[in-house]
Amino acid sequence: MFESLTSRFSGAFSSLRSKGKISTSDIESTCQEIRQALLESDVALSVVENFIADIRQKSLDALPTLQSGTNQANAIFEIVNASLIEILGGQARRVRFAKNPPTVIMLAGLQGAGKTTLAGKLAKFYADQGNTPLLVASDLQRPNAVTQLQVVGESVNVPVFAPEPGNGQGNPVKVAKDGIEFAKSKLYNMVIVDTAGRLGVDEDLMKQASDIRDAINPDEILFVVDAMIGQDAVRTSQAFLDGVGFDGVVLTKLDGDARGGAALSIASMTKRPIMFASTGEKLHEFDIFYPERMASRILGLGDVATLAEQAKKAFDTDTSAKLEAKFASGEDFTLEDFLEQLQAMSKMGNMSKLLGMLPGAGQMKKQIENFDEGEIVRTKAIVQSMTPTERRDPKVLNGSRRARIALGSGRKVSDVNNLVDRFTAAQKMMKQVRNGGMPAGMPPGMGMPAMPKLNAPVNKKKKSKSGNPAKRAQEEGQ
């Protein structure tokens, strides 16, 4: 029941791959698996049916031209992947800049979708590229939405046009209009207009949204939608399309474990591209939306491209270059490098999020969920309690040195032993990888210190009790 779309897909395809030769009935059962997976992931039934009909036909057409079962499975996999990418929008589209600045971007969406945070993220994203955005506070509805935008604007260093206090006071249409005039007079080249959340069924508020649109004539209206949304995605996106219209979609809260069924429904029903992905509460946790990456994520290939990019960002160029040079020159990978990597990794933030992007992570889901982030902190403490000599050459670590390190880091001697063992294994692996070549764009040894941990028994929690309070009471009563 809780299986994610990803592990469903992986399951369906690994059973196909194990077949010697694929028959039409194998294709049918794969289609049924995929249908079920898509429904569990909130893809609208009509979209699912079309999708299935499409891949069934394409797979049947391709079948006779392929020799072995493995080839056939791969070809079918490719068909599914390509169809997903096609629906998700083909090539990602960028914001169209106005010929005469400012470029006006208007945000619209349901309550709680994440518009205000997104406004800040967009402002930062474009300011970082040398633009001069202005934020306009037209959500005068929700208590303290204006204050929220002001705080957000301040933290990304972007001015906020907020002439009205909000909390039910002021006219959002006038604020938006005045905001554009203000931006023109002060030569801002971009305006981002935050608006109140509204329901598709609320005619008055939909009318207000179209009034704002008519007053500011935006270059882009972005429909902001929570990635966890269910079947209502279809009704709501249609209501916004009819009520205000929109040019692109932004998916928020993609750092959760919802697998993007809504993305598929919305893209396929509205034919509007998904343009951005919002992936966290912090204002830099935001990116352009890549249909291929989303398709890979759905298919359980893992989002390797994003992972590599984040890794690059986190490993400052110096560290990276130093490690690479070291690596190329064949020097040994030391505990110091190990520590630098750990530090870079904790900079990269949420470990389980990163691991979720790795290929095959769908199948490691349980381990990932139980991944202990404190582990990095503890390991760091141990390495930091070592002398430089010890870090460079762990072979000198005799019993008394280990005891001292344990004391210094507040860990047990067995923890120190454990780390040294893991490091030695990682070092060995590094040597092997060096001989066998590295994937491009990945800093050497990326993630390796953590990987052995995944195979170790991580289930430190007590045997999980039933989620059902009644059942649990029974269990506990025994």
Binding site: F2, E40, P143, N144, N468
Partner: protein, 278 residues
């Protein structure tokens, strides 16, 4: 006439369905977010229904999925302590305000704690509500420790012998283990002052099957005792809450139907189920 009523009319009349009728019904059920499993179960049971009492029989099939646990809000002996949790943007702060207003109107004294110290202006948001409704809000520094704000609130509620104490918390995605650990800490720290009677998980009616995962993991961390189902004033029917009832046994206790403090009521099974089938 809703598709469901048409369906019932048909049962009463011919009792003879084409595969297309079943497909329509499947579509209707799925689109309410009850999920593929409950949909299949319902269809199978519905195929056996005959008789005059078709409508009652079908409502009955759905109602069987409700948790056997009580859907009544829990009230404590002394100060009833309620903690409100959920993912980002579901309507936690608004629901805290609505609960406060509900209890205030029934003559009870209420204290709130602004436990969302993370999101920009979240504390101000709750204070604005506090002023509107006329209840005290205990708050600390933004970006401060939510557990200590909740602790101070609990003390203050106890000292003033308030009837109801409600803690707002920051939104968090259930897959972030550090944030879930923070939430359990808030609960533990408050329990040093007074037992927590109710942990309410706020689920947005537009949420899809991910709602199950939310309920499961929040319950693992803080033992959720009830659901607040918000935004039922929209086109979404909130069917995932039924899946949560069926799968995890957590009862829906309150429903939110708008942005004002009065748009709120205790859960009512019949109207919820009929809403799903409408």
């Amino acid at each position: 006439m809703g598709l469901f009523s048409k369906f019932i009319a048909k049962i009463k009349g011919t009792n003879d369905f084409s595969p297309a009728d079943w497909a329509d019904l499947e579509q209707e059920l799925l689109s309410s977010d009850v999920g593929p499993r409950l949909t299949q179960e319902f269809l199978e049971a519905a195929k056996k229904v005959k008789s005059e009492n078709a409508e009652e029989a079908l409502v009955e099939i759905m109602t069987k999925n409700l948790s056997s646990n009580s859907h009544e809000p829990i009230l404590g002996e002394a100060t009833t302590t309620i903690m409100v949790v959920g993912v980002n943007g579901t309507g936690k702060t608004t629901s805290v305000a609505k609960l406060a207003s509900y209890y205030k109107r029934s003559g009870k004294s209420v204290v709130l704690a602004a436990g969302d110290t993370f999101r920009a202006a979240a504390v101000d948001q709750l204070k604005t509500w506090g002023d509107r409704i006329g209840v005290a809000v205990v708050s600390g520094k933004e970006n401060g420790d939510p557990a200590s704000v909740a602790f101070d609130g609990a003390k203050s509620a106890q000292d003033s012998k308030s009837d109801i104490f409600i803690i707002d918390t920051a939104g968090r995605l259930h897959n972030k283990s550090d944030l879930m650990a923070e939430l359990s800490k808030v609960k533990r720290v408050v329990e040093k002052v007074s037992p927590i009677n109710e942990v309410l998980l706020v689920i947005d009616a537009t949420t899809g099957q991910n709602g199950l995962q939310q309920a499961k993991i929040f319950t693992e961390s803080v033992e959720v005792t009830g659901i607040v189902l918000t935004k039922l004033d929209g086109s979404a029917k909130g069917g995932v809450a039924l899946a949560i009832e069926a799968e995890l046994g957590i009862p829906i206790k309150w429903v939110g139907t708008g942005e004002s403090e009065g748009d709120f009521a205790p859960f009512e099974a019949q109207s919820y189920i009929k809403g799903l089938l409408a």
